[in-house]
Amino acid sequence: MRTSSRRAGHALSVRGIGKAYNVANRQATTLAESVSDWVGRARTGRKRDQFWALQDVTCDIEQGEILGLVGRNGAGKSTLLKIIAGVTAPTTGAVDVYGRIGSMLEVGTGFHPELTGRENVFLNGAFIGMRRAEIRSRFDEIVEFSGVSDFLDVPIKRFSSGMQVRLAFAVAAHLDADILLVDEVLAVGDQAFQDKCLGKMKEVRQKEGRTVLFVSHNLAAVANLCTRGLLLSGGRVIADASASEITRLYSAGVAIAATTDEVDLTPLPRSKPAAARCTSIRVNAVAEDGTPLDGITRGCTLEVAVTVQATDAVNRALLGVEAMDERGRPAFGVSTDTVDAWIDLAAGDRRTVVVRLRNLQIRPGLYTVGLTLTTVTDMLDELDAVVRFEVTPEPGAGYERWPGWPAAAYAPRFSASVG
């Protein structure tokens, strides 16, 4: 590689990266399956069914940038990070890495439950490529940052997940990596610690000029922290722009058209199997008696009907519905547990949960809806921006999408029924 041919300060050069997976149910895991698989393919001459998790991703990342990767579940964000980290090999394309990469690990990864906190600091550090001497010299700093100094000699299996994530983050934040990969690690941990982590990441960049690749569903953090964003959808980069522009595009749901028709949610990729999930959604305005109305206006009753399908029995699940405005600010959010509506499902059950929001007080504009289906213990389904709806100005209003309308999340009065 000739050094004169590129600008000084590249951290990563990603060219035409693609990643195909064989569809899960065709993956042979025993010898017998592998043989029958092979025989089957030889007979029919058919290629395995492939799923492209990532296609044709190209971008250059400069040193010192904090790049936010934004997209729905299954958009390919984590796959991209894994390829850059070298965990999994790309199917097409190439990446040149100019510097030492450090990955911030998911909670618990790289920790051994039986080892003490102290031993795990060394283990975790070693996995991300730190030398023992390096860890030893920064040990006090790491412990102080994590705030778990009283528990250093306790096996980590006795730590709460919050304490674990604090320790894991503390180790990674003190790694002398040129490029830091951060994948959704901040989902755990309380607000104060999250703020501390975000502050640390900013400081790392400003002081030491490190590059950070940051995956998060926390749009506020992306907008606040990142210097640039990539919006991924269906494994492709659909926008490469400033972080605030990316979060705006994402929450406006650029990939989705506004509709009051029923939207099928089954094709959306999920990160893990669960006992139940949302299979369809419909958002529209209704009259007092429940008949659908054309158009959604301020003050109307908004009906969100979500079909839930279970493969295993689920007890006392709740459905959360939230709406974001075009700039990624929450407009409202409701959860069925607050009106004491619970979803009980036997294996194979399909039920429709209807949430009715009365006297909707949000300004005219475009909104995206996100769904959360969860029990007290298990997250069943979590979907961002599944459908977009438009609130049109009411007849006779003297403005259209008046920009001065205050953005504020509010708790609308609502009722829910499980049918």
């Binding site: 010898l31 980290a85 965990v87 090999a89 990446v95 040149d96 890495v97 790289g110």
Partner: protein, 287 residues
């Protein structure tokens, strides 16, 4: 970039430190990188050593107890009941010396084979040279061997039959070759286990067979002459036989067979490494 850092590590990199290519057929054997990660090897190996007997009542004593019990049983069956010869040693010590080499071989092979599937989250989430996982199993085996050998030598010293130093000098060399063989086979087993869990069932069975096909519970001398050449084709056999002779300071060493075994061991290690690196690219997707 003003921050003080080890030379070259935080400087502007003008040449890519790493190139990731879709058309590469295998993970490159990057020796400088392995060297950079040497502390990971040590940390993983120490983790194995520390964890093995944590939350056990007898702790480290198991390292000695298991071969002692096994030697006792084999002494009873092969020495007392079957009256097999033991080249002029008490049968128990004869078997125990054989067991030390065998345990070092077997432990490495077994730990290697599950080293990838036992660390699934790491393999799918973190980058590090994967070969460190199987390779780290060697240290624990070597430590166990050292503890057992010290006890054996202490007993021999008390009995007044301490082996000559020249024969003891062979011990590290033979241990090295045994570990190369076990690691080589373990690298095959580890990669295969990722794809075919069948291996986890077959391997213990094969190891059991190999134990009886190797001079552990009995000596090479009881193998009929016309079969001995074939017997010694098992690469573990000459090494274990020589290891016992070296530890006890008594007995014939089949030098030619040891030489062939040594070459085979190194070749198996090289082939295992290569196979591992070829399979490595897809491990994270298949595991």
């Amino acid at each position: 970039m003003t921050q003080p850092a080890p030379a070259g590590e935080s400087e502007l990199h003008l040449v890519p430190l790493r190139r990731i290519r879709s058309d590469a057929r295998r993970t490159p054997l990057d020796l400088p990188e392995l060297w950079r990660y040497r502390d990971l090897w040590l940390t993983l190996a120490l983790r194995d050593v520390k964890l093995r007997y944590r939350q056990t009542a007898l702790g480290i004593a198991w390292v000695v107890l298991l071969p002692l019990i096994a030697s006792g049983v084999f002494t009873l069956v092969f020495g007392v009941v079957a009256h097999l010869p033991s080249e002029g040693n008490p049968y128990f010590l004869f078997v125990f010396a054989g067991f030390l080499g065998w345990t070092a071989f077997q432990n490495t092979l077994q730990r290697c084979s599950i080293s990838l599937i036992g660390n699934t989250t790491l393999v799918t989430k973190v980058y590090f040279p994967r070969i460190m996982l199987p390779a780290s199993s060697v240290l624990a085996s070597v430590l166990d061997f050292a503890i057992g050998a010290v006890i054996l030598l202490a007993v021999l010293a008390v009995r007044g039959s301490f082996p000559p130093l020249t024969s003891l000098l062979l011990v590290p060399l033979l241990l090295f070759l045994l570990q190369c063989l076990a690691l080589g086979m373990g690298l095959f087993a580890a990669s295969l286990t990722v794809r075919f869990r069948d291996v986890t069932y077959i391997l213990p069975f094969l190891i059991q067979l190999l134990l009886y096909a190797s001079p552990v519970a009995y000596g090479v001398a009881v193998v009929p002459d016309r079969l001995r050449r074939f017997y010694l084709l098992n690469p573990v056999a000459p090494l274990l036989d020589a290891m016992r002779a070296a530890l006890l300071g008594k007995g014939d060493v089949h030098w030619k067979a040891v030489g062939v075994s040594g070459v085979v061991s190194l070749a198996v290690l090289a082939a295992g490494t290569l196979y591992f690196l070829y399979q490595d690219r897809l491990n994270a997707d298949v595991i």
